[in-house]
């Protein structure tokens, strides 16, 4: 059953007025975020990412267009209604924004004040949340005594206090080291699966999108360049910027350097070819290399590979030197292409008669 659309942006525009000059930060943004999605928004610094998420919970007022949450136009809400809505939209930040004067417990309890819960109920809820993020033993510590990863866990617990339907994450892992980033992303994925919470994740790091997002939008200078499910955007990028993001995490590019330097590694014997193959489709799960080597009697020497599992499908490719009969090599390429594999011959040692 398809999930309902939770957040919808229609032709959203945002301008900032700064003495006489107008800075158009968002231009005709159209997005649809489905319930239970992990939706990534990636772009370089200044692209307008933070402004975009801040429009979703109405912290930033939009200049034109519509932001619909569960079909309701949020610009039509009164201030108290907007506050009620925000309680159902947790948000976490790059620098955590924990209250330094409050303990871990106090920070997580903060959004529960004025919520009509009794003290005992609040305590129970805070403890439950701390278990969820794995910080039960830290309840009496102050934020300054915690590591970055622990601080972000507290922030997540705090954001989840009122059982929100959405968690907005603005560069939530950008201040963390790679290992901690992984742990936090893992936690987010678990929360998504366990609680069914929708996650909107802003980042400038491709690895973050690859790690957990189902859908992705690429934003540049206030414009959404491309969007779609992560696999199709990654396997078939349309825009140069998308490609450059993908390359930041791919090592298939290295072979270009090797070729330029005429490296020994890519030197070919007569009759060999150097190819790059890339997955383009979600249905590939066969052992392709061994298939062509068996089927066409080809020897394959893999130079480099970069295959990742995105959204449960392999994405990426291989660079390999193939050695075999000329006709067989040509047929092998045709065979691969018939399997929706993109094949590029980088260097050709075949001699055609």
């Amino acid at each position: 059953m398809p999930e309902a659309i939770l957040i919808q942006l229609e032709d959203v525009e945002k301008e900032f007025q700064t003495n006489e000059t107008t800075n158009q930060v968002l231009k005709k943004i159209n997005l649809e975020i489905t319930q239970k999605d992990i939706f990534g928004i990636i772009g370089y610094s200044g692209a307008g990412k933070s402004t975009l998420v801040r429009c979703i919970n109405g912290i930033e007022e939009i200049t034109a267009g519509k932001v619909l949450v569960k079909g309701k136009d949020i610009s039509a809400l009164s201030k108290p209604e907007l506050r009620t809505l925000r309680k159902k939209m947790g948000m976490i930040f790059q620098l955590f924004n924990l209250m330094p004067s409050r303990t871990v417990f106090g920070n997580v309890e903060l959004p529960l004040k004025n919520s009509g819960l009794s003290k005992a109920e609040r305590e129970a809820r805070v403890r439950e949340l701390l278990v969820l993020v794995g910080l039960s033993d830290k309840e009496k510590e102050y934020p300054a005594q915690l590591s970055g990863g622990q601080k972000q866990r507290v922030a997540i617990a705090r954001a989840l206090a009122n059982n929100p339907e959405v968690l907005l994450c603005d560069e939530a892992t950008s201040a963390l080291d790679p290992q901690t980033t992984k742990a936090i992303l893992k936690l987010l994925r678990e929360l998504n699966q366990k609680l069914g919470i929708t996650i909107v994740l802003i980042t400038h790091e491709m690895s973050v999108v690859k790690e957990i997002c189902h859908k992705v939008a690429i934003i540049d200078k206030g414009v959404i360049l491309e969007q779609g499910d992560v696999f199709s955007v990654f396997s078939n990028p349309q825009k140069a910027l998308t490609k450059s993001f993908i390359e930041t995490t791919s090592n298939l590019k290295k072979v270009d350097e090797l070729l330029r330097e005429n490296s020994e590694i890519v030197a070919l014997e007569p009759g060999q070819i150097l190819i790059k193959i890339q997955y383009q489709d979600k249905h590939v799960s066969e052992a392709l290399i061994s298939a062509i080597s068996k089927k066409f009697g080809i020897d394959a020497n893999i130079i480099s590979g970069d295959i990742e599992i995105i959204d449960e499908y392999p994405l990426g490719g291989l660079v390999a030197i193939l050695d075999g009969e000329q006709e067989q090599l040509t047929e092998a390429i045709t065979f691969l292409e018939s399997k929706q594999i993109k094949v590029e011959v980088l260097k050709d040692g075949r001699v055609f008669h």
């Binding site: 108290p80 309680k87 959004p111 004040k113």
Partner: protein, 227 residues
């Protein structure tokens, strides 16, 4: 011990009851005007922070009016302010002299300074904290109490210490208009009758007071900072 005091403070020792009375007057001026000014300045300081551009209750009209009034009052030297306020003081409390007569000018004199100090104390509360409170769905008053006042405590303590030290200076000046207090004592005996030891006794006592205030301030700052 007595011999020591008689030797070094020959003009103070015979006037001890008067000296004590002056100490009490100074404290009265300090605590009454300081206490009232603290409440007013908290209100003004918070109002400035929340109404300024980007504040949670942005209102540039209110902000600018308050801002201009504060600047105007801060530009008047305190002695002149006291003199200028005499009719108002008289209308308010029935007298413009004595310790009672000094409270109102002291409040008017210190509040602009105190408000500015508190405004900058509250400005030190990171905008990120306020933003996260907004995303939690907190309203403006909740944010004032749960974020600005709470997270600003140590900055407020620091600002208050500086202000009390300043206010101590002002209480000495109002001695001129018959306000009494230690400043008055130092001027009447030390200055006008050339009893230098009276001045030094006051100086030493003020230095002790100020050290105690600063110590208290730093204890509060330490207790409220969790870094």
């Amino acid at each position: 011990m007595d011999a020591f005091f008689t030797k070094f403070f020959p003009n103070v020792v015979p006037r001890m009851p008067e000296f004590y009375a002056c100490v009490i007057q100074t404290f009265q001026m300090l605590f009454i005007s300081g206490g009232i000014s603290f409440v007013l300045s908290l209100l003004i300081g918070i109002t400035l922070v929340v109404t300024k551009r980007g504040g949670i209750l942005q209102n540039l009209i209110i902000f600018n009016i308050l801002d201009k009034i504060i600047n105007a009052f801060r530009s008047i030297p305190f002695v002149i302010l006291v003199a200028a306020l005499i009719p108002v003081t008289r209308a308010l409390v029935g007298t413009a002299v004595g310790t009672i007569g000094t409270i109102f000018p002291l409040i008017v004199g210190i509040t602009p300074f105190f408000s500015r100090q508190l405004e900058s104390a509250f400005s030190e509360v990171s905008p990120g904290l306020v933003e996260s409170a907004v995303t939690m769905g907190m309203g403006p008053f909740e944010i004032i109490f749960r974020v600005y006042l709470r997270e600003g405590i140590s900055s407020v303590a620091r600002a208050t210490t500086i202000t009390v030290v300043n206010l101590m200076g002002l209480t000495a000046i109002v001695g001129i208009v018959g306000g009494g207090g230690l400043g008055d004592f130092a001027i009447r005996y030390g200055y006008q009758r050339n009893m230098l030891d009276a001045t030094y006794a006051v100086v030493i006592l003020l230095m002790i007071f100020i050290s105690i205030i600063e110590l208290l301030g730093s204890i509060i700052v330490e207790q409220t900072t969790h870094e």
